[in-house]
Amino acid sequence: MKRIYVNEKWCLGCHLCEYNCAFANSGMKDMVLALKDKKIFPRIHIEGDERITFAVSCRHCTDPLCVKSCIAGAISKVDGVVKIDKTKCVGCLTCVLVCPHGALSLGEDGVMQKCELCLENACGKPACVTGCPNRAIVYEERGDKA
């Protein structure tokens, strides 16, 4: 299946992916209204230092520990996409405790949020990828693990 892949050599550390992600998942039509003067809650974040930067979001692991560990049964993997049912999440952060990549974060509403590849929001494909100015984030097929 197609997944998001990141190349740190091409990442400029511009944080545009974070803004595009927050906007794509805001449900709003106007980016300014959605983000201006607000604390943003993106599902992708930039890590790094003054030399190296890279974007981190859910890897949609072959064997996702978050799915197996969620105490509420709120996280599931459907057609290769790890999804969270925000109505079931109680914000216990057990998924944060187990995710080896640090890919989940607490959302504005006090429950967890994670990258779901923008497949169900207005974008229909990952907004971080579309908006990346240097193709440091791509959405493509690189095979599957057995």
Binding site: N7, I52, S69, I71, A72, K88, V90, C92, L97, R142
Partner: protein
């Protein structure tokens, strides 16, 4: 076609069903459920009382789970014995179920010490099952004084869940600190102060020795007047079925890394099982939800003829009180290194070039990166250890490792 039987209908049972179905889509699965509820998440009962979930949302799987996985659940039914020779499970209604592979996922039950005068207490509850929470809920009033015996995970989550619905909460524990199973003394003190700031009262290093209706007489001689009593002293694994069938049982049902008991074709998973704890290198009951699922899943795969090995279990907990988050993992031996940050405290336990365990208070972002270092036994000289202490980030890894994580299928 095989016949699978699962005793118990909790998290480990769901893991077992999903494990079986990852290998065998067709054979019959029968689940024996003493509780009459569809499978729900037990750790959510405090969130239920707090109003953060409800009876529908706290179901652990969707309504079509049994149908989708083609399994039959016998609600309100109890297994009374296992005959490992004939491969039969006898039920309380006299019926017998034959199996090719059996998973014992019987969980645990509250341990209630023999308190003198306990029978004189009118409103007393354990806090483990949904029915416990529903019964307790019926007694909650804005003026009720609640005494909780046990300042562990169960007792304190109960306290958080009911705080806004009662008048006063006192928590006592024989241990001299809160959360004694997961926190050291210093960290427990910090957490206790937080809890006190949120209205809880504590009597630590002290416990009830005698009850007289609505009065508890403590070991120290103090007395506590209460309207509602919650007993959260501890839990015991439900091991009897396997023990009586001749299987090896310690504190829990002894299982190997395949989740097999010492009885042929009998597996065990969840809070009733005593499996390998990689953080101490020995068997131990790890009564935590992720472990129940992971054990159940591995058991299911093996029951169906697949190959699953679960040998990297470690204790780990994520628990929050009134918005303050605590995470712990692994074992607290070796050298302790403390890192104080703006919003929290991190304690790392280091030995033999490995991260052995950690305690995080207040600052828990991306803690799974730390957990992974313990579980994978990552040599600390292969990562940026100084950076790790300050912040959980993928920058601690080499460029090559990062390329694997972010450039490959993981």
């Amino acid at each position: 076609m095989k016949k699978y039987v699962i005793i118990g209908n909790g998290t480990a049972a769901v893991g077992c069903v999903e494990g079986i179905r990852s290998v065998d889509k067709k054979s019959k699965i029968t689940i024996i459920s003493e509780e009459k509820h569809a499978v729900y998440s037990r750790p959510l009962i405090s969130y239920y009382l707090e109003g953060k979930t409800d009876l529908h949302r706290m179901k652990y799987r969707g309504d079509s789970f049994c149908e989708d996985n083609d399994c039959r659940v016998l609600y309100g039914t109890r297994a009374v014995s296992i005959d490992p020779e004939k491969k039969l499970v006898a039920l309380n209604d006299g019926a017998k179920l034959d199996y090719d592979a059996l998973c014992v996922a019987t969980g645990s039950r509250p341990f209630v010490p023999p308190f003198e005068g306990l029978e004189t207490v009118e409103k007393k509850f354990s806090f483990m099952k949904l029915d416990d929470a529903l019964a307790l809920e019926g007694t909650l009033t804005k003026v009720a004084r609640v005494l909780i015996v046990g300042a562990g995970l169960i007792g304190l989550k109960c306290a958080e869940g009911i705080r806004d619905r009662v008048g006063e909460i006192t928590v006592c524990d024989l241990a001299d600190r809160v959360l004694s199973s997961i926190l050291d003394a210093d960290c427990a003190k910090i957490v206790q102060e937080r809890l006190e700031a949120n209205g809880l009262h504590f009597l630590l290093g002290d416990t009830a020795v005698r009850f007289e209706k609505s009065k508890a007489v403590m070991k120290s001689g103090k007395t506590v007047e209460f309207d509602v009593l919650v007993l959260a002293v501890g839990v015991r694994a439900n091991t009897e079925l396997v023990k009586e069938a001749g299987g090896n049982v310690n504190r829990g049902i002894v299982v190997d890394e395949k989740l097999q008991t010492t009885l042929p074709c009998v597996f065990a998973a969840g809070d009733c099982a005593e499996g390998f704890d990689a953080s101490i290198g020995a068997n131990r009951v790890l009564a935590i939800l992720p472990n129940a699922y992971l054990q159940g899943h591995a058991a299911g795969v093996n029951m169906a003829g697949g190959k699953a090995c679960f040998d990297n279990a470690i204790p780990m907990n994520s628990i929050g009180f009134f918005g303050y988050h605590i995470m712990t993992a692994g074992a607290y031996d070796g050298e302790m290194i403390e890192e104080k940050t703006g919003s929290g405290v991190k304690r790392f336990f280091i030995g033999e070039n490995r991260l052995k365990g950690y305690i995080l208070l207040g600052e828990v972002e991306r803690a799974g990166i730390y957990t992974s270092l313990i579980r994978e036994r990552t040599p600390l000289d292969t990562i940026d250890f100084d950076l790790m202490k300050k912040v959980a980030t993928n920058m601690i890894y080499s460029e090559k490792e990062r390329r694997k994580t972010f450039g490959d299928v993981v």
